[in-house]
């Protein structure tokens, strides 16, 4: 297991380097001069040249790339132009907010999807099953940049139950996490339902029932563990969508996370910060898929490394 984990961690490395390289070259193709943005277009040309020098912007791009990779290997992501702080520190200060939001969204998705999916499958073909399915279709299809404002209109502006924006206290989590989690909930629900329907035909369920086990035990202990496997897979696949969903959700709810930071960095042409943010999001995604592989071993003891 430890060896497997290590080799998987190693396999993340070239991907992360590929992503870093891709991001670096993309960013440096951005038209528009960061020096103009920082000093204003009217600044004295000597000042501009000096700043250009300190930021190494007049070096050939290959040399800048080498410099970037070298400092990256030391864990240094450079200085943010707009915030005048190390990019690493800026990202670190925003990271927890995004992580909390993502975890809350995943929790909401799981808590909605598993019971409803199970219920729906056990009532296969009935009205309640059809209704849940219809809702899941809308859940998959509703764009989060629409769901967010609708939830705000209803729960914040009309009912006045929940805060419109910000990150203070548990209540402020509810709407952003719902906005972010509904899509995933709908997908997980469909997976749960489909795999319960598939598993319930299997012979080991028949055996369990034939042994005279109570239906409850059959479902929880025998059926459910097997349903977990496809669930974990899809959870991993969907995590990327969740992370970019966070960019939009954070924008809607003024959530002080990595997503809003990314957009702000793009608007201020803060090269190093954009680079850092994209890298942070991509690496999070890669690590999440690693985590999913580890979860497999828990969900399915047959998978041994």
């Amino acid at each position: 297991m430890a060896r497997y984990l290590f080799s998987r961690l190693l396999s993340v490395l070239p991907l992360a380097l590929g992503v870093a390289t891709g991001v670096f070259f993309l960013i440096h193709l951005i038209p528009g001069d960061p020096v103009d943005l920082m000093l204003g277009e009217t600044a004295a040309s000597s000042d501009r040249a000096a700043l250009r020098e300190t930021l190494h912007l007049n070096e050939p791009i290959v040399k800048q790339y080498g410099r970037f990779m070298l400092s990256l290997s030391k864990g240094d992501l450079g200085q943010s132009f707009s915030m005048k702080k190390p990019v690493f520190d800026v990202i670190l200060s925003r990271y927890p907010a995004t992580l909390e939001l993502a975890v809350a969204a995943v929790l909401i998705a799981i808590l909605l999807a598993i019971p409803l999916g199970l219920f729906s499958a056990l009532r296969h073909g009935r009205l309640s099953d059809q209704t849940i399915l219809l809702f899941s279709l809308f859940g998959v299809s509703i764009p989060n940049f629409w769901l967010g404002p609708l939830l705000i209109i209803f729960f914040s502006l009309t009912l006045n139950w929940l805060p419109v924006s910000g990150r203070e206290g548990l209540l402020s989590f509810v709407l952003p996490a719902l906005t972010l989690g509904i899509g995933m909930a709908a997908i997980l629900l469909r997976i749960t339902r489909a795999s319960v329907l598939e598993m319930i035909e299997k012979e080991y369920i028949l055996t369990a029932r034939a042994k005279g086990l109570p239906e409850r035990t059959v479902i929880v202990k025998h059926l459910f563990r097997n349903v977990l496997i496809p669930l974990v897979t899809v959870l991993g696949l969907q995590f990327g969508a969740l992370l970019t969903g966070a960019i939009i959700t954070e924008t809607i709810f003024s959530w002080p996370g990595l997503g809003r930071l990314t957009i702000a960095a793009i608007y201020s042409r803060d090269y190093p910060l954009v680079q850092g943010c994209v890298l942070a999001i991509a690496v999070t995604y890669l690590l999440a898929s690693l985590l999913v592989d580890v979860l497999y071993t828990i969900a399915d003891p047959r998978v041994r490394y």
Partner: protein, 274 residues
């Protein structure tokens, strides 16, 4: 249930596409016509869906916005599928180091979660319809390439391919006449889902201000404008969102139906490519 699904999905899509094409005929006003004094007016007889903050007719803007949104969706999907087919079949057919290199490239493209890459690309290239199509296509081809490659790897071992090779057919002929037609079914299914995702992706970019730029009407941009007036003018946020969701629902219904029809082995839900 399935049949009604196709019927509803298909009809809705055709209606929306036709109304987008005939927007200049159908739109009661110009989408750019300002009436500042009537800003944020609620729906009325003269303006069925109301007016936005600058007094522009929402119905007209929705109709014209549909041209952009649907157009982007169609083009992005076509380009992604084409690149995906070319790369995926080269990788799957030739194998070896070509395969390894191409698939590592796909891995890197797919290591950017969701529309993150498109956000950065749109910011770099500058917002224009063409650039959005480019950004979303660059993002979208990876999933299709991986899908095609997997299919080809399986199909390559089939007896009819062996027969074709044994008959002495040239490789390109085996590939285009025998392999590709047999692996396209899942691609068509994914393309249907992909079209819905592409529409949402474009709207997301426009919502973030990195997509279609004002005053050109786009559904994402209309939603972005509307979020400052949630209480004053809830109709502004309701209409474009409802349209986007309707389109995605329709494409999903269509994709589900195609999957059953073409009996593609069921992944229960398509992986979101965008």
């Amino acid at each position: 249930m399935k049949r009604t699904g196709v019927l509803i999905g298909g009809t809705t899509l055709i209606l929306l596409i036709v109304s987008a094409i005939f927007a200049p005929v159908l739109a009661p006003y110009s989408p750019f016509e300002l009436h500042l004094e009537q800003g944020l007016s609620r729906p009325s007889f003269s303006h069925i869906l109301g007016q936005d903050k600058l007094g522009r007719d929402v119905l007209s803007r929705i109709l014209y916005g549909g041209r952009v949104s649907l157009g982007v969706g169609v083009f992005v999907t076509m380009i992604s599928v084409t690149i995906g087919i070319v790369v995926g079949s080269i990788a799957g057919f030739f194998g070896g180091s070509i395969d390894s290199i191409l698939m590592r490239l796909v891995d890197i493209v797919l290591a950017f979660p969701g529309i993150l890459l498109a956000i950065v690309m749109a910011a770099i290239l500058g917002p224009s319809v063409l650039n959005i199509i480019v950004a979303l296509s660059i993002l979208g081809w990876g999933g299709f390439a991986r899908l095609i490659r997997g299919q080809i790897l399986v199909a390559r071992e089939e007896d009819y391919i062996l027969a074709a090779v044994a008959l002495g057919l040239p490789p390109w002929r085996v590939m285009f006449r025998h392999l590709l037609p047999n692996v396209l079914a899942p691609v068509i299914v994914e393309a249907a889902f992909g079209m819905g995702h592409a529409v949402v992706a474009e709207a997301s970019l426009s919502f973030l201000g990195l997509g279609i730029q004002p005053p050109m009407p786009s559904w994402g941009g209309m939603l972005s404008d509307a979020k400052s007036f949630l209480l004053l003018a809830p109709h502004l946020v309701t209409v474009p969102g409802l349209i986007i969701m309707t389109i995605v629902v329709s494409f999903n219904l269509l994709g589900d139906a195609l999957r059953d029809r073409l009996s593609v082995r069921g992944k229960a839900v398509s992986q979101k490519v965008w």
